[in-house]
Symmetry: C2
Subunit: 285 residues, 2 copies
């Protein structure tokens, strides 16, 4: 989030402090706040996280910090709040800031729609460590780690998806993200020069063909990434990257493996795209 | 998200379909929606993700899916939207649903406050794969993987934090989460029976004392977790878990290592707590 020159605006307007206040981790407030603030590219935002504001004393401390910034900067900070507790919410909204209440704003229309009162408690998400869904995420992380880079064949049959692709095409971070965010059991398996010479998939993969999903990458980007890891090596050379990427794509095409290019995509975008594809596939069989 | 018996409410009110609609991954809409819906424990929510709705054709398809559900269920669905593109937003809000607009609701007060117009584009978050912050996250994931379980001493000096604790106390998932969410370089190092016998920290750790952060866990919970991995082993026995946890806590106390109990905390809560602690420390030196 770099500041940019904005000649038409007063200089001091281009920098603002933002607080993310929550009675939980504040991750929701922060993720959401980032999406919104990203639409104001002219402004540099200094960001402060205030998690676990779950009693009146901490609420008072939070107000003090916010008011101090307001005084120092001569401009009121922006506050993204996911405070669920109404008493604490009432206290913190008195701070000298623009108070954007992510919860309360939508609770009323939801109450009207659902015909139930909100519990006004952090609720299920707070007890997530005990939930079945949470246990599945932890299991999926362990699965991704033990099935990283083709290291364990046992258990491949319970994988939700097996990512294939050349070394450094983004398989490992994507597998971990799928596990952590969605509880998806993702194994990953490299396509290596020996596979291209034999011109077939590693033998563990054809029996699990339906679970395969490919990641490719542009040779230029792959060359960059590999040079960070092993500078100047044959492995990282543009000629070798071109050869491997072309061979991998030809192999995936011939084996009818769905694949996408990770070149300009974030792991979030890759993971969400894969999820769409494998869910559709699951549904159609 | 299990349905619960709610005798005082009409049966059909206790189940609703929710759509998360976005021109990006929809992860923000979904994360945020979950926090809100968690406050209505009486209702079972059937959740549908509609990511990458980035043109008018996809918008029309989205409306059709939503309207079909409205018709089938005889109740309008709930729509959490992070559609930034105004044209697409205008189309999708015509669907037969309760349209909760997470972006537009806050863009206007932000525009007034900041004195700038919003770009109404997905903006920086969409191009995140190119950003410095994103590259740091990927590097941090690679760091966490190569410095998992004490396997690599080289590079420990560039770690932001080194998590220590007994086997299965939650070090690995926490390290990965710190990397993925915050770009924090987290190594982790196990405390093992040999350390307790010698009654000192593994030799790699004392020179990096300021970076150490401990995870502990209740012996009962540790016993459960280890029994899933190695059922009936001495390693998993309650006696051994009690011995290791007590010894590790005594060692951390004596070495003045800050620690927390991971027993009832999610990885998000553990990671956020650690982040608070290490940031404060960084500031005070």
């Amino acid at each position: 989030m770099m500041p940019e020159a904005v000649p038409e605006a007063p200089a001091q307007a281009a920098s603002r402090t933002v607080f993310f206040v929550s009675d939980g981790t504040g991750i929701t407030a922060e993720t959401f706040g980032h999406s919104l603030l990203a639409q104001f590219e002219q402004v540099h935002f200094h960001q402060v996280r205030l998690p676990f504001i779950d009693n009146i004393e901490k609420a008072a401390e939070a107000i003090e910090r916010i008011n101090q910034v307001a005084k120092q900067e001569g401009r009121r900070p922006i506050i993204f709040s996911t405070l669920v507790n109404q008493q604490i919410n009432t206290v913190v909204r008195q701070a000298q800031g623009l108070f954007l209440d992510l919860i309360q704003t939508f609770v009323e229309p939801l109450e009207n729609e659902l015909g139930f009162k909100s519990s006004h408690s952090i609720g299920r998400s707070h007890n997530m460590a005990d939930s079945k869904q949470y246990q599945e995420r932890i299991e999926a992380i362990n699965f991704a780690l033990s099935h990283d880079d083709g290291q364990l064949h046992e258990g491949l049959d319970i994988a939700d998806v097996i990512l294939v692709g050349v070394s450094r095409s983004g398989k490992t971070p994507t597998s971990l993200y799928l596990a952590m965010q969605y509880g998806i059991k993702a194994a990953n398996y490299p396509l290596i020069p020996e596979d291209f010479e034999r011109n077939r998939l590693p033998s563990a993969l054809p029996p699990r063909r339906r679970k395969l999903f490919g990641l490719s990458i542009s040779p230029e980007r792959l060359c960059e990434v590999r040079n960070e890891r092993r500078p100047g090596s044959k492995y990282a050379s543009i000629e070798n990257c071109r050869f491997e990427v072309n061979a991998a794509e030809a192999l995936m095409r011939r084996e009818s493996i769905q694949w996408l290019s990770s070149t300009t995509k974030s792991i979030e975008e890759i993971a969400t795209t894969i999820l769409q594809e494998i869910r559709i596939e699951t549904r159609s069989f």
